[in-house]
Structures are given as C-alpha cells and as structure tokens.
C-alpha cells in the first residue's frame, strides 16, 4: 500500500550563513511551490503577491497547472496573514510551502493552529513544508518533532546547540558547532543519519520532490 506522505525540512543557521541560498537551490527544483517570504528575499520566484486576494487569484490560476511558483510578501500583520494563507494552502494541497524565519510565527512552546494543521495533517493534502530559522531554540517543539530532515549550518549559541543536541543527538550538535561559516550538514530523522555534500543535496531534492 502506498501511503501519502509529505516532507518537512528545517533549515537552521545564523544570518548570512547561506540558509536562503540553500533553500533556493532546493525550491527551484520544485514543480509546485509557494513561498511565505517574510524577508522578501526570494525575488527569483516569478509571481510576487502582496495581498490575499491576489493569492486567491493565483491559486485559481494555478488550479489547472502542473507547475507553478509564487511568493507572498506580507506587508501587514504576519501572523494573521499566515493564518489565512495557511488555510488557502491547505485547501489547495499538493504543493511545497516554504516559510522563511518561522520563529516569527511560533515559539518553542507555541505553534499557531493553522501552522499546526499544516504540520500535523499536511500529509493528507500532500503539502510539504520547508522552514528556516536562525535559532533552533526558538522553533516550535511540535514542528521540530514533525520535521523529517534538518539542514544545520554553523552554530555556536549554547541554547541552540542544546536544542540541536536534544533533537539530533550530541554528536551532531558537536559537528554543527565545528562547521565553517557557510558549511552545513543534513540530518535525517528516519535512520538518525547524517548526510553531507552531494549526497545531502540529492536526498534533499528527492525529499522535497516527494520522490520515495
């Protein structure tokens, strides 16, 4: 029996470490993509939407297409905009949602219901998620618990290393603490294994593209 699965990928690293660049490298390979571009960094995405009416129109346009890519740049209240957008994305289904700086929407002990639904139930709608954060300690435990792959950039902050240690193990946390400025490693939850280099990039692409 084939089980419908979504993929959740978390990218954690300090500012300027290369999170967005790596994320772009992955997202550009995705057929059906939507970016909640909090920082307005993903100008490479062809369709930039600045209000939720445009989002509705975009998804109406995307309804009958095999491939589409768009980004929403919030200009008002991020939380309320995301809440509404999350509902639209959930209804749309079968796409990859990328959320930059997810700690702007959640905290270690709190995840907004709309994001929580995407995280918990997204697989039923084939909604995958790629999120980024500067600090591991600020990401919702619920979200980290449901994440399939962590991409970890260099980190020296003790609380963030503790969070990585708690989730990925002490050995991985130690490796992260010794990474160069733009170096990274991937840690796959299933099998508890680390990946690096080309293999990591291939695995990431496969996971984002939902290739089993």
């Amino acid at each position: 029996m084939t089980e419908i699965q979504n993929r959740i990928v978390g990218v954690i690293g300090r500012k300027g470490s290369g999170k967005s660049t790596l994320a772009r490298g992955v997202l550009e390979r995705c057929d059906r993509l939507f970016v909640f571009d909090t920082m307005g960094e993903h100008s490479w995405v062809p369709n930039t939407l600045r209000d939720l009416d445009e989002v509705d129109q975009f998804f109406a346009w995307a309804e009958m297409r095999d491939r589409f890519a768009g980004r929403y740049v919030p200009e008002g209240d991020i939380a309320s905009d995301f809440a509404e957008l999350a509902g639209v994305v959930y209804d749309q289904g079968e796409l990859l949602l990328a959320v930059e700086e997810i700690p702007l929407l959640c905290s270690a002990s709190y995840i907004p219901p709309e994001l929580g639904r995407l995280v918990r139930l997204g697989r039923h709608r084939r909604v995958s998620l790629l999120w980024t954060a500067q600090r591991a300690a600020e990401v919702s435990r619920t979200l980290t618990a449901m994440t399939d792959v962590f991409v970890l950039f260099s980190c020296t902050e003790p609380r963030d290393l503790d969070a990585i240690r708690e989730r990925c193990g002490g050995e991985t946390a130690d490796k992260v603490s010794r990474l160069g400025l733009h170096d990274w490693l991937a840690w796959v939850v299933i099998g508890r294994r680390e990946l690096g280099g080309l293999e990591a990039e291939r695995i990431l692409a496969e996971m984002v593209l939902q290739e089993d």
Binding site: C30, P46, F58, A60, R67, F68
Partner: protein, 215 residues
Amino acid sequence: MFGFASFPAKRSEFGGVRVPVKIRIPDAWEGRVHSEVVRSMLQGWFQRPYLLPPDPGPGRARVSLNLPRRAVKVLEGLSGESPSVALRRLIAAHVPTLPAPRYARPFAALLEPRQVGFVSPVTDARLILRSPVWDAATGRWIPGVASRPVAMPDHAVEAKRAMQSELSFWFWLAVGAVVLWALWKYVGTGVSGVAESASIAEELPRFTEWIPSGL
C-alpha cells in the same frame, strides 16, 4: 279512443258515478294528465264554461281517467265532439297548468339520465317534448315538437366554469412568471458568468509560468 268500462261505477262528489275513460293524448302530456286534474278541469268548466281550443290530436300516449260519467256526457254533447276529442280540448286549455309528469313505472325517475355537473347539453341525447300551444291570435294550434335539450344556464356550472377559467388564467400567469424568472436567472447568470470568466481570463495571464530547474 273512448269507452266505458264494464265494471260497476261508483258514486263521487262531482258528477255522480265515475267511470274509467281511456283516451290517447299527445306525447308531451304523458304522465301529466291524471284523473283528479281532469275532474277539476271539468268542474271548473261546468261552473264557468269557456271556449275550448281545437283538438291537438291524438298522440301515441294513452291514459285512463276515472271521470264522472255524466260530466263526460255533457261535455261530449256541448262540444259536439267525441268524448276523447272533447277531453283533449278541455285538457289543452289547461296545458300550462298541468302538473309535472309522474312516472307510472317504479324507479323510472331514477333510471332516467340526469344532468349533473358539467354534462354538456350537446351530448345529452334525450329529447325534450314541448307541448302543443294554442295560439289565440291565429286561432290555431302550434303543434308540440320533440327537440334536443337546449343548453340552459346553470348558475352553479357557470360559476364553476368561471372559477376554473380564472384559476386557469392565474395558473398560466404563474407558469409564465416562473419561466421568465428562470430565463432571467440562468441566462443572466450565464452572461454574468461569462463576463466574470472573461474578467478572470483578463487577469490570469499576468501570472508567470514556472519552469523548475533540473537536478
């Protein structure tokens, strides 16, 4: 035809002994001429004689009247006619006052077709028998005729027809309104839907197609 029965006569209040008298009468009179009625006519005529109309002629109907023998004899002598002709002339003078027909056969009235509801007079095959009428101006009888029933106004039927006609009018008016509404609804929706689709179509091309990069 006229004749005295052979069985014994009996005494009566008017005219003495009554005897059965059998005569032929016009069909229209059938069931309406009875002994008591004719005796009353005889009594009235003898009290105040008047000119009798001509004989309407014998019909196919027959009636047996129990009449005072003497009175019939006097009438016969005064009119100079046979008893049957004299009696028919006497009865003819009172045709308008003759009672409604009685039926000799039991339940005959129940067996006769009756007009009820919306029965069209045209489809009613019964004949209406009209009595001969004496026309005093010409001094001649207008003979009785048998004719088809004429459509007589029936207020209940007319009222029902009027109501039916009115209901039919409102029904078709309502049907027309529903049809117009449906046309407006669906055609209008279709037009607005097309316009909306066109509007959307105008907006949709502004989105850019996405071509993901290969691995």
